[in-house]
């Protein structure tokens, strides 16, 4: 038993050491770069941070390999490339965009896939915000947060439904498959798996949801949030509403919402057409713009608008090559149609004063490039005041009204800024549409305007299945979601 006594001391020691360590807490290590989900949505500050996370998602910055999705570039490129005819060609090596330009998309196209993923990622962020509005400390704050989250969700759904569904106006909106409408946050894998049976809502159901979100957002976001700050303002919401109404052919409301933006007098056109672009901060013309900096942007090398539109020293690949046919559309003296052909090999966007230039500084040099996106660290306009004039003019013309002003006057505002003589009138639908095509060229409007106008894209009818993106293969493989016609 003496022996046992000797043991006892050490057994006791082992137990002391064990007790010291064995508290489970030693195994509870919290991450430092990320936050556990259960501690995130617990206060107003974090709620607002999740809202800003949704803004960041709109830009397409974050992720592992991708970049430049949604308003960071692809919503623009998908529209411009899918509607490319003789105005522009894809001269780059990425087959993802080439497939769009060739109207020959595959279901495994990575850009198609990544934008689908990113779109719903942002929607999930917005849904998380909307499900936790009670965390806001005041009603005012709550309204502000709710309004922005609804606006973001609506903006994404609007482009998703325009890209992945048959167009509004084809007459079968109430039966055409739209996109799945996810309105609740995904908190667990069980939630995620439950969505496998959700299916696609109809195009008209998706539009209804968009309008519901936007009309609520418009009144929730008070005017005092500021006009052209970096956040979505009540006028941004009106601008987006005017787009949605215009797309639906609801011209009265489109004119009314566009007019609300213009007549707020919060915005002013830049002095020159090119002045509306390549700005480090919002200018008077920006109703909403994607904010970029050197540390936070939609891509510098392999993604983002500058990468594909620019061909300058150190920036861009010159893949989107504007064709002479497009330049030929501009009248002589149109500031929006100038071509600069004398850039030095080391020119950056600061040295470009025309809207178009011959690329310099590397592979693909010598092609005509559009100067709207010349530096990855500068802002990307999403809604400009000029669009509001064009929308108001078109909607008023269609409706036979003069909400705010006459179509002729609105078009002449844009023409005068472009250095052109005002039209004498009477103005025609063709005048208005041409002005819109030229003013908003390469800003992502082309496909949606063609579909709206029911104009053919080359040899393809406006509602051809080739002009609708496929549901990504990775989705089809995971659950039962109906594919679009033609794929």
């Amino acid at each position: 038993m003496n022996v046992m006594k000797k043991y006892n001391k050490y057994i006791a020691l082992l137990f002391v050491i064990s007790a010291f360590f064995s508290c489970d807490s030693k195994l509870d290590i919290e991450p430092r770069q990320t936050l556990s989900t259960d501690v995130v949505l617990t206060n107003e500050e974090n709620l607002e941070a999740v809202l800003f996370g949704a803004y960041a998602g709109l830009k397409g910055t974050f992720g592992t390999n991708e970049g430049g999705e949604l308003f960071g570039g692809d919503f623009n490129l998908m529209s411009e490339m899918l509607a490319a005819t003789d105005n522009v060609r894809w001269g780059g090596s990425f087959d993802t965009y080439r497939e769009m330009a060739n109207k020959d998309l595959t279901t495994t196209n990575l850009v198609v896939r990544d934008n689908w993923i990113r779109g719903y990622d942002v929607i999930n962020s917005a849904n998380n915000v909307l499900a936790n509005l009670d965390l806001a400390n005041t009603d005012a704050k709550r309204n502000l947060i709710e309004g922005q989250a609804r606006a973001i969700r609506a903006m994404v759904y609007f482009d998703l439904v325009r890209i992945w569904s048959r167009p509004w106006g084809s007459g079968s909106e109430s039966t055409d498959p739209g996109v799945p409408l996810v309105l609740q946050p995904t908190l667990t894998a069980v939630d995620a798996d439950a969505l496998k049976t959700l299916g696609r809502s109809t195009v008209s159901a998706v539009y209804s949801q968009i309008l519901d979100d936007l009309t609520q957002a418009k009144s929730l976001i008070s005017a005092d949030l500021g006009a052209n700050g970096t956040n979505i303002s009540t006028y941004t919401v009106s601008a987006i509403l005017s787009r949605v109404y215009l797309q639906q052919g609801n011209f009265a409301l489109a004119a009314q919402e566009a007019d609300r933006v213009i007549s707020s007098e919060e915005y002013a056109l830049a002095a020159t057409p090119i002045g509306a672009f390549n700005n480090a901060a919002n200018i008077g013309e920006d109703v909403f713009a994607i904010q970029q900096t050197s540390l936070s942007n939609a891509g510098t090398n392999n993604a983002g608008l500058t990468t594909f539109y620019a061909r300058l020293f150190g920036n861009g690949r010159g893949d989107v090559q504007v064709q002479q046919a497009h330049l030929d559309e501009y009248e002589a003296g149109d500031l929006r149609g100038g071509l600069q052909n004398d850039l030095s090999g080391t020119a950056t966007i600061g040295g470009v004063s025309s809207m178009f230039y011959l690329g310099v500084g590397g592979q693909n040099s010598g092609q005509i490039q559009c100067a709207k996106f010349g530096d990855p660290n500068l802002n990307i306009p999403v809604v400009r005041l000029a669009e509001m004039y064009l929308t108001r003019a078109e909607a008023n013309f269609e409706e036979g009204t003069s909400v705010g002003d006459t179509p002729l006057n609105d078009i002449n505002v844009i023409r005068e800024r472009a250095g052109l003589a005002p039209l004498a009138g009477p103005i025609t639908m063709d005048d208005i549409r041409k002005e819109r095509r030229l003013e908003l060229a390469f800003e992502g409007f082309r496909l949606h305007d063609f579909k709206r106008w029911q104009d053919p894209v080359g040899t393809l009818n406006y509602d051809a299945p080739e002009l609708v993106m496929p549901i990504p293969e990775r989705e089809i493989e995971v659950y039962d979601i109906p594919q679009n016609a033609g794929y």
Binding site: L14, L27, P31, T34, A54, T186
Partner: protein, 1015 residues
């Protein structure tokens, strides 16, 4: 009868008496016994006259004297760890003998987890390499030194670049997304061994910090019964590294110095300027629609002008007919080589032992801009404070400096120089690199960019042992491993990525990893028949990793290139992460009658990496052994001096790589200047380790008095709960969740044979090992393959099989490349050919063969290593060997065999500029990757004792050694031992991508000279 008996008694008495008398007439024999490996005197050697009990023992210096009968007899010299020798006394009065070490002796001590065992008592499978065996091998990391020396341990360097990560697979791969590398335990501390570099560059190797000349032994725990005591990190085997410690006796001071020169072990035959001009002129003519066979000289010149000024592709192609640049030569270093200096002292008395070592290693790689330097200091101390209490200390400080080259996929990497046109100059008249090459000239990078990683490593451990009673001891250990790496990269303003103002990156990583363990050990023999050994204890480990990284561009001049001078930051990040393991472990070994062995072990592992619902895992193992040679029917058998059967079964785990994989998380997502948060991962509360159940059945044997020993093992490893990401509907906002889903199986046979073919003055010993492993993925989360380049994970196939199109050669009619379609017919449309399994990067078997010869101080050792039955895919082949039908890359010389006119029978399609004829991924670029290498050939000479004593040295050896002297392979690239795991590497792609070559550097052939002196 009685008379007879009496006579016998008398006779016996007389005999005894006379014997005594004879012994009374003894003479004295003296001599010295030395150790064959270093010529040092060998203390404690037993010397007996055969057939008598008369004996003696050598003193501290190996000297002895023994009285022998004048009639002579036979002296038997024996010592543990050495082969016994018998010497006829004859008329000699002085007998000096050299004893050879018996490295394979079954009585040797083997390190196991938290203790030691005699090799003959092992019931598990453990491979051991002694430090002596790998001493002075001119490589910078111990894993390459033991390559081929341990059966069932497949070691592969990914390239000939210095300081890069090395792949080790113990009994095959058992994971897809978690690590397949073993757990490394150095002097009781699980050390940091993972890549610490950026994911876009080749992985770094923190194990290169260890100077393996300080290593006493390396044990690889292979089966479950050996490894299960390391629980949830043991599925891939455990490598235990034990450093040298001092022994009682005089202080030994050893100095070793060696230096060597290196060159690429193999080169590729590239086209010279004339051949290049010929094939690209032909390719261009065909592109123009002109038949090259009938083309006129004017046509040819026009085609050359088109390539030159017309397309602006190849500057000078139609004017410079003199230049002939060997770009391959430009990629390699003329002064590659290394030097290493080791100084060590060891010794002690009965209370204190010490080992102190200092080492300097400086390697200049075979690639330009690739150097490695290591300075390492070590002090190991042991102190007996009392009969009961003893302390130990080990400290290792290391500084490494690695000059790195760009990853293989970058134009800037040296070996991509081979793509450049031999018709263009490497340098301009002023000596600067030619800037108008067809692709970026990597020499610009060489001279205007640098990438240096400086690492500081501290490994320290403290331990105390208290002998509570005779059989029971308590030991407590504390170990710390601090790794600090600083990367400083700069690309000057004239480089591709650095223009226009220069670009810099500064990155710092610190990993602090500490472990405490406390355990009781028990060792008791009862009634001589029962022996019981046990271990019971616990341990806690925590590892914290901090990283800061910043990138900036725009520098006033290339000479002022720290971030402070930059105009603009382009990237910045810092991160902190950690994991912990809390473990309880125990083991019992019972031995009955020295022949029946039973072992039980288990570990409970809890980890911060596991989900809430599976915080702790239990990893048990059971094993049994039967030493048949101890049974009466074999005891004394002249055939089987040793025979043991053993079997084990156990469960081990493999922890996930991600520290927080089980948690639902939000990540930062700033918008403009406002900090934002976005959903990042969904929680996976059931997430746990991957589980491997392993059965091992083995035989250990010794034949002819252990002159031949060997091991034979059969094993089956079934792994389930493989961590895989399960795809989710992306409309949820998440694309996947990490869950325990898949299954994989490995089975194989391992054979080890060692023989002392000849002993004595001239000795020859052989060791041979071979291991067969069969890997099969048995379950994934869907039928879809997991794809990483050409390698895939597919149910029913080995991990990483090559899947691509099957190349069918060339159509003699038009030179088209042909492929096999679904029906097995040929087609010239690559898209009509299905993707099929075209090869397997996993070898059928691997092994090594070592022969040691020694004669009077001269030693020769030849070590071969071999890998058989695997394929290698040359991903760069599409550019290197595309019959000039791609862009204008220089081509391998074998492309001259291209199809030229109807009727030509060849397997190289026609040359046609940008025609893309046969340059798609296909089995055309797949080759047999089997090889045999004369890995190490060493010739050494140990100076004899007479010279040594005059010089007052205890040992002196000079040697010349060749590493990778000969490689025999059918592979036509640089080196079949290759793996480029791609950019944007993840653990998963690292596991899947195997046997892929992409402008990947070959191993170095190194010839070195060295000297070791002992005082």
């Amino acid at each position: 009868m009685r008379k007879k008996l009496r006579t016998s008694c008398l006779l016996l008495f007389a005999l005894l008496f006379s014997a005594t008398v004879t012994f009374g007439q003894d003479r004295t024999i003296t001599g010295k016994v030395t150790d064959g490996t270093d010529q040092s005197g060998l203390p404690g050697v037993n010397i007996v006259i055969k057939g008598t009990s008369i004996g003696s023992i050598t003193d501290v210096d190996g000297n002895y004297s023994i009285n022998v009968p004048s009639s002579g007899g036979i002296l038997v010299f024996s010592s543990i760890g050495f082969l016994p020798q018998e010497i006829e006394i004859g008329s000699q009065s002085q007998i000096n003998i050299v004893m050879s070490q018996d490295v394979q002796q079954l009585s040797e001590v083997v390190i196991v987890g938290y203790g030691t065992q005699l090799k003959q008592d092992l019931t598990g499978n453990i491979a051991k390499v002694s430090g002596e065996e790998i001493r002075n091998i001119p490589v910078n990391s111990f894993e390459s030194a033991i390559q081929g020396r341990t059966s069932g341990v497949f070691i592969e360097k990914s390239s000939g670049k210095l300081g890069e990560g090395i792949k080790i697979r113990v009994r095959g791969s058992s994971s897809i997304s978690a690590s397949n590398q073993p757990l490394y335990v150095v002097d009781g501390i699980p050390v940091t061994s993972e890549n610490q570099g950026i994911t876009n560059n080749q992985p770094t190797n923190p194990l290169a910090d260890i100077n393996f000349n300080d290593v006493e032994s390396i044990e690889v725990l292979k089966d479950a019964s050996a490894a299960a005591i390391y629980g949830s990190r043991a599925s891939n085997g455990v490598v235990i590294i034990t450093t040298k410690r001092g022994k009682a006796g005089k202080t030994n001071i050893n100095i070793g110095y060696q230096f060597g020169v290196s060159e690429p072990s193999r080169l590729i035959d590239w086209m010279n300027a004339a051949e290049y001009r010929e094939i690209y002129t032909e390719a261009t003519l065909r592109w123009q629609g002109i038949d090259p066979i009938t083309a006129t000289d004017a046509d040819r010149l026009a085609a050359q002008q088109l390539l030159d000024t017309g397309f602006g592709l190849i500057d000078g192609f139609s004017t410079d007919f003199d230049t002939d640049t060997d770009w391959q030569d430009q990629a390699f270093n003329d002064d590659a080589g290394f030097q290493q200096l080791d100084i060590s002292a060891s010794g002690g008395n009965e209370n204190t032992g010490f080992f102190a070592g200092l080492s300097y290693n400086d390697q200049t790689g075979i690639l330009i801009n690739n150097d490695f330097e290591r300075i390492s200091g070590r002090l190991n101390l042991d102190q007996k404070a009392s009969d009961k209490l003893s302390f130990g200390l080990g400290l290792n400080f290391v500084r490494t400096e690695l000059t790195r080259v760009s990853n293989d996929n970058a134009f800037a990497t040296p070996l991509q120089l081979v793509a450049l046109a031999p018709t263009q100059r490497a340098r301009l008249d002023d000596g600067s690199p030619n800037p108008s090459t067809i692709y970026y000239n990597g020499l610009i990078e060489k001279e205007n960019a640098q990438a240096i990683t400086v690492g500081y490593r501290t490994l320290g451990n403290l331990n105390a042992t208290y002998q509570i009673i005779d059989d029971l001891a308590f030991r407590t250990e504390f170990g710390i491993d601090v790794l600090d790496n600083q990367d400083d990269n700069y690309q000057g303003r004239v480089t591709q990525d650095g223009s226009p103002g220069g670009q810099a990156e500064s990155r710092s990583v610190r990993v602090v990893n500490y472990t405490t363990s406390s355990f009781f050990t028990y060792d008791k023999t009862i009634n001589e028949n029962h022996n019981l050994k046990g271990v019971l204890g616990m341990s806690y480990q925590q590892s914290n990793r901090n990283l800061t990284s910043i990138q900036a561009r725009g520098f006033p001049t290339d000479d002022l290139n720290t971030i402070a001078s930059a105009a603009e930051n382009t990237f910045q990040s810092s991160s902190q992460t950690a994991f912990s393991f809390l473990s309880y472990f125990g083991r019992v070994n019972y031995k009955l009658n020295d022949r029946y062995l039973i072992g039980l072990s288990g570990r409970i592992d809890g980890s911060s990496k596991f989900g809430d619902n599976n915080r702790y895992g239990f990893f048990p193992a059971v094993s049994a052994g039967w030493i048949i040679s101890e049974e009466s029917f074999l005891n004394g058998s002249s055939t089987f001096s040793f025979l043991k059967l053993r079997a084990s079964y156990g469960i081990t785990g493999n922890a996930p790589v991600a520290n927080f994989g089980s948690l639902g998380q939000y990540a930062g997502a700033p918008y403009t200047t406002t900090a934002g948060l976005r959903p990042w991962t969904l929680s996976s509360p059931d997430l746990k380790w991957e589980t491997t159940k392993q059965l091992d059945i083995g035989i250990d044997f010794g034949i002819l008095n252990d002159r031949i020993t060997g091991e034979l093992d059969y094993y089956v490893k079934n792994t389930d709960d493989l961590l895989l990401s399960r795809p989710l509907p992306a409309i949820s906002g998440f694309t996947s969740i990490f869950e325990n889903i898949g299954e994989m199986k490995n089975s194989g046979i391992e054979i080890v044979l060692n023989s002392q073919n000849i002993v004595g003055d001239f000795s020859w010993s052989t060791s041979f090992n071979i291991a067969f492993n069969d890997n099969e993925v048995t379950k994934l989360n869907s039928d879809a393959d997991i794809i990483a380049g050409r390698n895939r994970v597919r149910v029913g196939e080995p991990l990483g099989v090559f899947v691509s199109r099957q190349y069918a050669g060339v159509d003699p009619a038009n030179g088209d490349a042909l492929y096999y379609d679904e029906e097995g017919n040929t087609t010239n449309d690559i898209n009509a050919a299905p993707n099929v399994v075209i090869g397997d990067p996993n070898p059928d078997f691997v092994g090594g063969l070592n022969n040691n010869f020694s004669y009077k101080g001269i030693e020769l050792s030849a070590f071969f290593q071999f890998v058989q039955g695997n394929e290698v895919y040359n991903d760069g082949g599409r550019f290197q060997s595309n019959n000039a039908s791609g862009f204008v890359d220089n081509q391998t010389r074998d492309q001259l065999a291209r199809w030229r006119q109807p009727g030509d029978i060849t397997d190289v399609p026609r040359a046609e500029l940008v025609g893309g004829v046969g340059d798609g991924h296909s089995s055309r670029y797949l080759s047999d990757g089997s090889y045999i290498r004369l890995k190490t050939l060493t010739l050494g000479y140990n100076f004899p004792q007479e010279i040594l004593s005059r010089a007052k040295l205890s040992s002196a050896k000079i040697y010349v050694s060749a590493q990778n002297l000969v490689t025999i392979t059918d592979y036509e690239g640089w080196d079949p031992e290759v793996n480029f795991t791609g950019t944007n590497r993840t653990t998963t792609t690292t596991n899947i991508v195997q046997g892929t070559d992409f402008y990947t550097a070959p191993q170095a052939r190194t010839i070195s000279f060295g000297v070791n002196i002992g005082f």
